[in-house]
Symmetry: none
C-alpha cells in the first residue's frame, strides 16, 4: 500500500515551524508496512490543496493530511476533501454533543466556530479528538480504471495539525483503521558505524546492495558517521525479522570492525550502557572539545552511576593544576601531543579514582595549525585500571580538516570509539 503525507498550512511554507508531524507519520506508516512515497506541503489555498490531493492520489492509495481542520476561516481541509472525494458536509449530532461537553470541561462558551467543527463528510469514518476539539476523519472513493489499470479504492485521512492532538488520534483511532486496510509487515533496522566513509562503506557492501530487492540495504551519512539501513517486507513480522537478522549477519561479515550498533543507537548511549552494565566508572579530561564529551554522555539519564567528572582544561595552566600534566611535557612536546594526552588521561583517572580515564587534546581550527601540527590533529588518551586491562594508550587522528565543528564532533566520537574498542 502506497501513501503520501500532506501537510496543510502556510506557516510551514514560511519556515516558522519544523514539520515534526511528517517525521512521526512516516515512521509509523513504515512500521506497519505502508510505503511512504511522497511528502507534500501546501498553504491554506483551496485550489492548490485540491490539486495536490489529486496529484497524491495519482499513484498512491492513501493520502494522510495534517492541519487545516481548525475552526477559523483559513481552515478548509474538510471542504476540499469532500470536493475531491465526492461527498458533502453534514452535521454530526454525536460530534456536536462531544464538542459541547469538551467546551464545558474547558469552562468555555461554545461559539459558531465550534459548531462548524461538527460538520463532517456524510459517509466518513470519524476519528475522535481526545486532546482538542477538531475531529479527524477518513473518506474513500472508487477511482475509475483506465486502459492500464483496474478500478480501485482510494482513501484520504484528515488529521488535526497540533502534534499532540495528531499523535494521540493516530495511535488510538487511525492505527486500528490502517491495520484493517493493509497487508504484509515491514521490519527495518539501522546499523551504525564509525571510522569508515560512505563511499568506502558502499563499496564493501556492494555484494549485498546490488540487485537486492528484499531485504533492501542502503547506506547514508549523517553528522560524520555512516549508517546502513536494512528493511524487509513479508507476510508476517516473524518472516521479515528473520530476513533482516540474516542480512545483518552478512553485513557484519563485510564491515563488522566498524559497527558499534545494529539497533540504531548513538555512540554515547552504547558506551554509557556498556559502562553501566559492567559497573565501570569513568572520568574525562577535555581540551579542544570544551565539554562536548561530558555533555554527550550526560544526555543519558542515570549516567551519574558511572560518570564522575570531566575536567575541561582549556588553558595550559588548567592542565597542570587540574591534571598534573608536567610543565616539561608541555614545553618539550606541546599541549597537542601524545605525551600530554597520556598524562591527561592518567591524571584525571588518578584524581577521580575511576576505572577509566579518557582524554582529548587537539587543534580544532580553523586556525592555530603549524607546519608540523596541522589543524585537525587530535590525540585521544585512554588510561585503564587493572579492573579493565590496566593499559594506557593513545590514538592519533590527523584529518587536516579546517572545520572546527566537524573536528570537534569527530574527536568526541573518537573518544567513545576508543573506549568501546579498548575497554
Amino acid at each position: 500500500m502506497k501513501a503520501a503525507i500532506l501537510t496543510v498550512g502556510t506557516e510551514i511554507l514560511f519556515g516558522e515551524i519544523t514539520n515534526t508531524n511528517t517525521v512521526y507519520l512516516s515512521r509509523r506508516l513504515n512500521d506497519i508496512g505502508i510505503d511512504v512515497m511522497y511528502h507534500y506541503t501546501v498553504g491554506d489555498n483551496p485550489g492548490r490543496l485540491a490539486e495536490i490531493i489529486e496529484t497524491s492520489l495519482r499513484d498512491c492509495d492513501i493520502v494522510i493530511t495534517t492541519g487545516g481542520l481548525g475552526p477559523t476561516q483559513d481552515d478548509m481541509t474538510k471542504e476540499i476533501a469532500c470536493q475531491v472525494m465526492g461527498d458533502h458536509l453534514v452535521m454530526h449530532d454525536d460530534i456536536l454533543e462531544f464538542i459541547r461537553n469538551r467546551m464545558l470541561s474547558y469552562k468555555t462558551v461554545m461559539t459558531e466556530n465550534n459548531v462548524k467543527q461538527a460538520l463532517l463528510p456524510s459517509r466518513c469514518r470519524v476519528f475522535y479528538n481526545d486532546a482538542g476539539t477538531a475531529p479527524g476523519f477518513a473518506l474513500d472513493r472508487l477511482r475509475k480504471g483506465d486502459n492500464q489499470s483496474a478500478e480501485r479504492r482510494q482513501w484520504i485521512a484528515c488529521l488535526p495539525g497540533p502534534p499532540k492532538e495528531m499523535t494521540r488520534m493516530f495511535e488510538r483511532s487511525v492505527m486500528p483503521w490502517l491495520e484493517e486496510l493493509t497487508e504484509g509487515c515491514l521490519v527495518y533496522r539501522e546499523i551504525r558505524t564509525f571510522g569508515i566513509g560512505e563511499s568506502d562503506l558502499e563499496t564493501k557492501l556492494l555484494p549485498v546492495i546490488d540487485g537486492q530487492t528484499d531485504p533492501t540495504v542502503a547506506t547514508y551519512a549523517k553528522n560524520g558517521e555512516c549508517s546502513v539501513r536494512v528493511a524487509s517486507k513479508r507476510n508476517t513480522r516473524e518472516e521479515a525479522e528473520k530476513a533482516v537478522l540474516g542480512m545483518i549477519e552478512k553485513i557484519n561479515g563485510f564491515v563488522g570492525e566498524y559497527i558499534y550498533s545494529t539497533e540504531g543507537e548513538e555512540y554515547p548511549f552504547v558506551v554509557g550502557n556498556m559502562l553501566m552494565s559492567r559497573g565501570l566508572t569513568l572520568s574525562a579530561a577535555e581540551s579542544c572539545t570544551g565539554g562536548m564529551f561530558g555533555a554527550a554522555l550526560t544526555d543519558i539519564a542515570g549516567i551519574s552511576a558511572v560518570f564522575d567528572r570531566s575536567l575541561v582544561t582549556y588553558s595550559n595552566q588548567a592542565k597542570m593544576d587540574e591534571l598534573g600534566v608536567k610543565p616539561e611535557t608541555l614545553e618539550e612536546y606541546g599541549a597537542v601531543s601524545e605525551q600530554t594526552a597520556l598524562e591527561m588521561a592518567e591524571g584525571v583517572r588518578r584524581k577521580a579514582g575511576t576505572d577509566i580515564g579518557i582524554s582529548v587534546t587537539g587543534i580544532a581550527g580553523p586556525d592555530g595549525g603549524t607546519e608540523e601540527k596541522h589543524v585537525g590533529l587530535v590525540y585521544i588518551g585512554l588510561s585503564c585500571s587493572d579492573r579493565c586491562g590496566g593499559k594506557t594508550i593513545c590514538r592519533k587522528i590527523d584529518r587536516r580538516l579546517k572545520d572546527r565543528q566537524r573536528n570537534r564532533r569527530h574527536a568526541v566520537l573518537s573518544m567513545f570509539d576508543m573506549i568501546y574498542r579498548n575497554v
Copy 2:
C-alpha cells in the same frame, strides 16, 4: 517569484531524519521576497523524481532541491535535472581539480565515485562546496508558452543534502545568484531574545505587527528562545536598511529588556565577544549540564584568550574535590541548592584565578524530582572579582518541566544570560 522546495532522499520518507533543510530554505527564500508555494519530498527513484520536478515547475519559477548529489549509486539528482531541463552531464575539469585537492587535504585516496562528482550539466552555473565534495549547480530552461501563458524561463537549483554543506553553499553562492534573479533589495535582521515566551512577545509587539506591510515583523520560537524577524524590501539597499533599523529601534522600546542581539547572533557568541573585548577571564563549574556550557563557549575560535577551564563535577565527591564545596552544605541543603551553586561559582573562580566564575546545578530529569525539588529546578551561581562588580549572586529557575534536553539547554542559556545581564 514563486518557488518549490524539493527534498530528495528515501531516508526522509522513512522518517529517520527531520527535514531541517526545508525549514532553513523556506525562511531564507521568504527573507528575500521569494514566495515558497510547495514543499515536496521524494525518494531515490528516477521516474518519480523527474515527475515531481515537472509538477513543481507547473506553477513555480524555480525549484530548489536538496540531496541526491553524493557519490553513490542512489544519488541521481544531477542526471534527472539534466533530463527535465534538457541538458547532459560533462566532466568539469576545474571541479575535478577542486575535489582532488579536497581529497588530498583529507589524506584520502580519490575513488571512481569521487571522479563522478565532477560530472555536471554542460550549461549549468556551478556552486562550489566549501564543506564537502559534492558541488551544487543551477540550470535553466525556456518553457514554451501555451494559450494561457507566454514563454518563460524556469530554474532548478540542486544543493547537497548535509545541512552544513547546504547552508554554507546557500549563503555563499546561491544567495548572490538569487539576488541577480529577483528585483528589489531585501534586508532583514533577526532580533534574539531570552526570558520571554512567544505569545507574550507577540502581544507586546502587536502595535508593530498588526497591519504592518513593510517592514514586516514576525516572531518565531526555536530551541527554547524566541526571535523577531524584521524584513524590508525596497528599491535600494540603503532604503531597506534604514526602514529595518527604524523598526528595530521601535521594537527595542517595547521589549528591549529581553533582547541580547539585534544581529541574529547566538548567546555564547555574544557573551564570548563581550568577555574578549573587555578582557575578562572566565571559568565554569557545571553539574546537570555536563559540559554543555563549556562546549557552547568553545565553539568560538579564539575563546582560549579568556576561557580557562570548566569543571564538570557530576558527583558530590567531585564537587568537594574540585570546587571545595563543603560537605555540610551538600548535607544540609543538597547538591541542588542556592548554597551549593554559590560555593561552586566561588570555588572555581578562586581556583582558576579568573575574573568570573559561573556555576550550574539542577535536576534535569526526567526523574529525580521530589515534593520540594521538582524536575526542572536549576540554580545558577555567579561570582565576580572586584574588576567586574565584586558580587556573588544566584538565580533560581523552577520550570517544572520533565524534558531533560530542554531543561539542560535552558540552563545553559540562563548561564549566558546571567553573565550578560550582571557583568
